[in-house]
Symmetry: C2
Subunit: 221 residues, 2 copies
DNA sequence: GTCTATATGTAGATAGAC
DNA sequence: GTCTATCTACATATAGAC
């Protein structure tokens, strides 16, 4: 959003400013993910990043700009991974199977959410928080929806006889199930009686569940 | 939680105090549901209820007590409706069918969420917000989990060969799908391209989807 | 780019009059 | 039961020195 920092750089070298900026965004990402937007103060972000209050304002702008910057920083990573997997499936010839489509959409996100790097885990958690909240969706849904729509079209080609609205709904329920593995770990652990492992541990079950659901919906009268 | 108000009543008559208390809890319910806990100030609740700041404190106690009181006020309505439907299915003889179990668990919630009374809609929305958030689940999960576990046991009887952990996970994904119809209306509308109707409009699709998912999971090797 | 300092508003909570 | 008044803390945001 604001690139005051970068605009002072005339050559390609990255100075300490870049590193500080990353630390600020990292801290914001972790705290927004863990506690939500409203419960996270800029002061706390500054403390977590080891900078002063003014520095956060300088790099992040207003609080709402800050969270957008945090999300946008990594949005292309997830989108391009999903696009690449879809392209692979298409390159393999003939319309991709439904199961492969579901796998290709869900797995990259689960991988981020289960990755060793806590920063990527925080990003995945933040997405789950923000995208499923009606208050935030208008501001950020546009970041991820285009790719989801590409998958929806591919699914419609795989199930040409299914009602399009039903298929679209099935995809939104699939996404909700996926996000819940990251956002609702405590609920899942509490109900299933075991400590929740990493989201990737649920991958097979998730894919089976969602595929079964989509299949059932696309066969319904 | 705090029943200072009621404790001053020695006979059965309900004075203005009860009505005021309800107005406070109603306002809190609406605002917590619409904006979340952290974004909602007690002052705003007071304004919405048409009372002064001190009155909210008197009836609701500290902010965290207030939201618990709001949730507990109606928890029995949902729980007993689900229990009643489960009892009906059992009374009908022989283990209930999986589809009936899914229907019986999902439908009462969707009905509340789609009801004319905006107060019940707010309650449903608040549940969706709070139960899927890891930060809140420890404080409120215990309100709804016992009934969910009864359904889980019934599901295990309907699918005795399924792995228990898989079935439990399938139920948590079912719940997540259900909650998303209430909490993530904007996402659903955005992705499916139509204005989201009421959650009940999605009931058939939701049941088909979840049943297909549970079925697939409980057949998996 | 980063700091300190501060302007300005709002938060939760409660004490005490009525 | 309800209101007014206020305490104390913390919030966001920015101006200006370095």
């Amino acid at each position: 959003m604001t690139d005051k920092a970068a605009s002072t750089q005339t050559d390609g070298r990255i100075l300490r400013g870049e590193a500080t900026r990353e630390r600020v965004l990292d801290a914001a990402e972790r705290l927004f993910a863990a506690q939500g937007f409203d419960a996270t103060s800029i002061r706390r972000i500054a403390a977590e990043a080891g900078v002063t209050l003014g520095v956060v304002g300088f790099h992040g702008g207003a609080k709402q700009d800050l969270i957008r910057t945090v999300l946008e920083r990594r949005v292309e990573a997830l989108n391009s991974k999903r696009r690449a997997r879809l392209a692979e499936l298409r390159a393999a010839g003939s319309p991709p199977a439904l199961r492969d489509l579901v796998d290709a959409y869900l797995t990259p996100y689960l991988e981020y959410a289960s990755q060793g790097d806590p920063q990527w885990r925080a990003y995945a958690r933040l997405i789950a928080r923000i995208v499923s909240d009606d208050r935030w969706y208008p501001a950020v849904g546009g970041l991820y929806d285009p790719v989801a729509r590409e998958y929806l079209h591919a699914m419609q080609q795989a199930r040409p006889d299914a009602a399009q609205q039903e298929l679209a709904t099935a995809l939104t329920l699939t996404v909700a199930s996926m996000l819940s593995l990251v956002a609702s770990r405590a609920r899942i652990a509490g109900l299933s009686g075991r400590d929740a492992g990493s989201p990737m541990d649920y991958r097979d079950t998730l894919i089976t569940f969602c595929l079964g659901g989509i299949d059932a919906v696309s066969r319904a009268p």
